[in-house]
């Protein structure tokens, strides 16, 4: 049971971070379907660093640097996306798809050059066996503080900071205004393009960070795929109706579905006694998102100016 809860945490945390990343971009008015590519690229750069410098420094420091690099890698793709969609006013969905094609291609190409296969292995040694004192708390202790990864704490910190930034700061207000009514923002003397650049860059950084948070606890190698987690994060964002407070619950719900599905493949006995095949649990988040979308009378929840390049002269 504890194992399953911990597994659910490992599935939910990357979803939460990447969905929050998506929120920053979409709230500023820029569609970001490149989350998948940004995750892959972040995971790739971070794990490439771990692979090249393995053994030269202590585990947690190496992991911290890898997370930093993953964030920067994601921001680089964010910059490409922002240049296309803000400066060049290009179709944001097309630019996003281009990055989704580009990121895994670069990752596989480089991986094949530095390793014999297309996989980049890393040594699994990043968990903290027991966090003193905190580990003794009933239920929460074993889940959060035994065999724990700092990636989990980073994810929680990202969520809390993002919540404050979006809800309580001037930048957060401007970000939301940029997605709802950019002309009002412009009239108030704020450069819309600057806010949108910031939103997309933060989005890329968080998606890149989410990429490495995805790989570290659940895998031992990088494989140029995050199994559709970037797209699942879009589902999380839409299901949460672009509301940051709802993202945490949605991530846990979608993470739970993944856990049930993967528990089936781990324990074949479960699959045999269940009436519902594992694939249906994998499908459920996407079906639920479609249902929510079609019931909520269209996109009333989505930022009003999303996907529309800002045109000063249209004011």
């Amino acid at each position: 049971m504890i194992f399953l809860l911990q597994q659910m945490l490992f599935f939910s945390m990357p979803l939460m971070v990447v969905a929050v990343g998506g929120l920053f971009s979409e709230r500023s008015g820029i569609v970001n379907i490149a989350l998948e590519g940004m995750m892959i690229f972040g995971g790739f750069v971070g794990i490439l660093f771990l692979f090249l410098f393995t053994g030269r420094m202590s585990g947690q420091y190496a992991l911290a640097i890898a997370m930093g690099l993953a964030t920067l890698a994601g921001m680089f793709l964010g910059l490409m996306h922002a240049y296309a969609s803000v400066t060049m006013k290009a179709n944001q969905a097309i630019s996003g798809m281009a990055l989704n094609i580009l990121a895994p291609a670069v990752a596989v190409f480089v991986a094949k050059e530095v390793t014999p296969s297309e996989l980049i292995p890393f040594r699994q040694r990043f968990f903290i066996p027991v966090v003193p004192v905190l580990a003794d708390i009933p239920i929460l202790g074993p889940v959060l503080f035994q065999r724990a990864y700092i990636t989990t704490y980073v994810a929680i910190a990202v969520f809390v900071v993002s919540l404050i930034v979006i809800k309580k700061t001037r930048f957060g207000l401007r970000l939301r205004a940029s997605g709802e009514h950019p002309h009002a923002l412009d009239a108030a003397g704020v450069k819309v393009s600057r806010i949108r650049y910031a939103g997309v860059l933060i989005s890329g950084g968080l998606a890149g960070l989410g990429g490495i948070i995805f790989f570290i606890p659940t895998s031992v190698e990088f494989s140029a795929s995050v199994s559709g987690y970037g797209f699942l994060a879009i589902a999380v964002l839409v299901f949460s109706r672009w509301e940051i407070k709802r993202i945490i619950a949605t991530s846990f719900f979608f993470g739970l579905m993944q856990t049930i599905a993967s528990a089936f493949s781990g324990i074949p006995f479960l699959a045999e006694i269940s009436f519902i095949p594992a694939e249906f649990y994998r499908m459920l988040p996407y079906v639920a998102t479609l249902v929510v979308l079609s019931l909520s009378r269209g996109e009333s929840a989505a930022p009003a100016a999303i996907g529309v390049p800002y045109d000063v002269s249209a004011r």
Binding site: V31, I33, M80, A84, M88, K89, A90, N91, A93, I94, S95, M97, A98, L99, N100, I101, L102, A103, P104, A105, V106, V108, F109, V110, K112, E113, E118, S225, S227, G228, F231, L232, I234, A235, V238, P277, E279, F280, R282, M283, Y286, V287, T289, L290, L293, S294, R297, G298, E299, A302
Partner: protein, 353 residues
């Protein structure tokens, strides 16, 4: 003005290829130029045999390219070609493998089933878009993953080869005939999918340019509100556009798997690449059927070139880097294009008395 659009596509190709050359030079400076040259001319290296292989890789992505391009014409971005292709593939495989009583006609029924299944998968986001205002980019992404897991489930249940974790081989009668093209392009892997792609290109060209429906679809794509004002039921047109787009992607699925090229539908968590390739093909082909056909051949040519990279100890994925850059640049060039059109209009207007 038409030429302007062609130039912007050519510009995207050149920019993409240059990026590829840079990537090669960084990884293997000594052989980059030789490798790049080999890649560029591999599609003709062994004459008709190589050309046949180009056509083999081009056929399915021409069909998905037509699917994406057709939806673009009605102002819709069909990211869901992947899911439509998967669902169509399953329908085709199920009939070809299980309905053996059809004998030599199994491929006809299989292909038709793929078209219908793909259309069904396309119609759902179409209806959601037209009547519920759900953006098609989001809904087609969801439909892709629903299709992936549903098809995995169905394959494992009905047509499963558990030894290789993939679908069972297709019997003779289920394979789309090659109409003699395998003798013209002897030694190549060319498949009947080529004929399907040619027929589809012609049909879509006629539909878009010679019929009232095509005119209405394009009108809805240019301005939904003006079309409604002109008496076109724009919601219905959106549903029809997604249905046709889905049907084309479904046909692509049948084209890939109802063949003797030893391709089987794997049961795993990754999407077939042909769906997303369709986006690249449609953009490079300027969303026009003939353009899409040529762009499909170009990408097929690139794929054959990528395979020669192993001779130089380089990964064939360099062509995916090139593809990604081409899509990125064509996103930018769409802007150049509309800008240039505006300038052009202004100039001509000033020129008039």
């Amino acid at each position: 003005m038409e030429m302007l659009r062609v130039y912007s596509s050519l510009l995207a190709i050149v920019a993409g290829l240059l990026t590829g050359l840079i990537v090669l030079s960084i990884t293997n400076p000594g052989q980059a130029w030789a490798a790049f040259n080999t890649m560029l001319f591999a599609g003709f290296r062994r004459g008709l045999r190589s050309v046949g292989n180009v056509v083999y890789f081009a056929s399915p992505i021409i069909l998905t390219g037509l699917s994406v391009g057709f939806a673009f014409k009605t102002g819709l971005f069909n990211i869901g070609a992947t899911g439509q292709l998967l669902f169509g593939t399953y329908a085709a495989l199920h009939i070809a493998i299980r309905w053996t009583f059809l004998g030599p006609f199994a491929w006809v029924v299989g292909l038709a089933a793929a078209v219908i299944a793909g259309a069904l998968w396309g119609v759902i986001p179409g209806i959601l878009k037209a009547y519920k205002g759900v953006h098609e980019v989001v809904s087609t992404i969801m439909m892709n993953y629903i299709a992936l897991f549903l098809v995995n489930f169905l394959v494992r249940r009905n047509i499963y080869n558990s030894l290789n974790n993939e679908s069972l081989p297709v019997p003779r009668g289920g394979i789309i005939p090659k109409f003699g093209f395998d003798r013209v392009f002897a030694g190549s892997n060319i498949q009947g999918a080529f004929v399907v792609a040619v027929v589809a290109t012609v049909l879509i060209y006629i539909l878009l340019n010679k019929t009232v429906l095509g005119f209405e679809l394009k009108a809805v794509g240019l301005n939904r509100h003006a079309s409604r004002y002109a008496g076109i039921d724009e919601k219905r047109r959106i549903v029809i556009a997604m249905m046709v787009a889905g049907a084309l992607a479904g046909a692509a699925g049948a084209g890939i798997f109802l063949s003797d090229s030893l391709t089987f539908l794997k049961v795993h968590d990754t999407m077939p690449t042909e769906g997303f390739m369709g986006i690249s093909v449609a953009l490079l082909g300027l969303k026009e059927p003939i353009g899409v056909f040529l762009a499909g051949l170009f990408f097929g040519y690139l794929i054959v070139g990528g395979q020669t990279m192993q001779l130089f100890d380089l990964a064939p994925e360099v062509i995916d880097v090139i593809t990604g850059m081409i899509v990125y640049f064509s996103a930018l060039s769409l802007v150049f294009e509309s800008l240039a059109v505006k300038v052009f209009r202004k100039l001509t207007r000033e020129g008039e008395p």
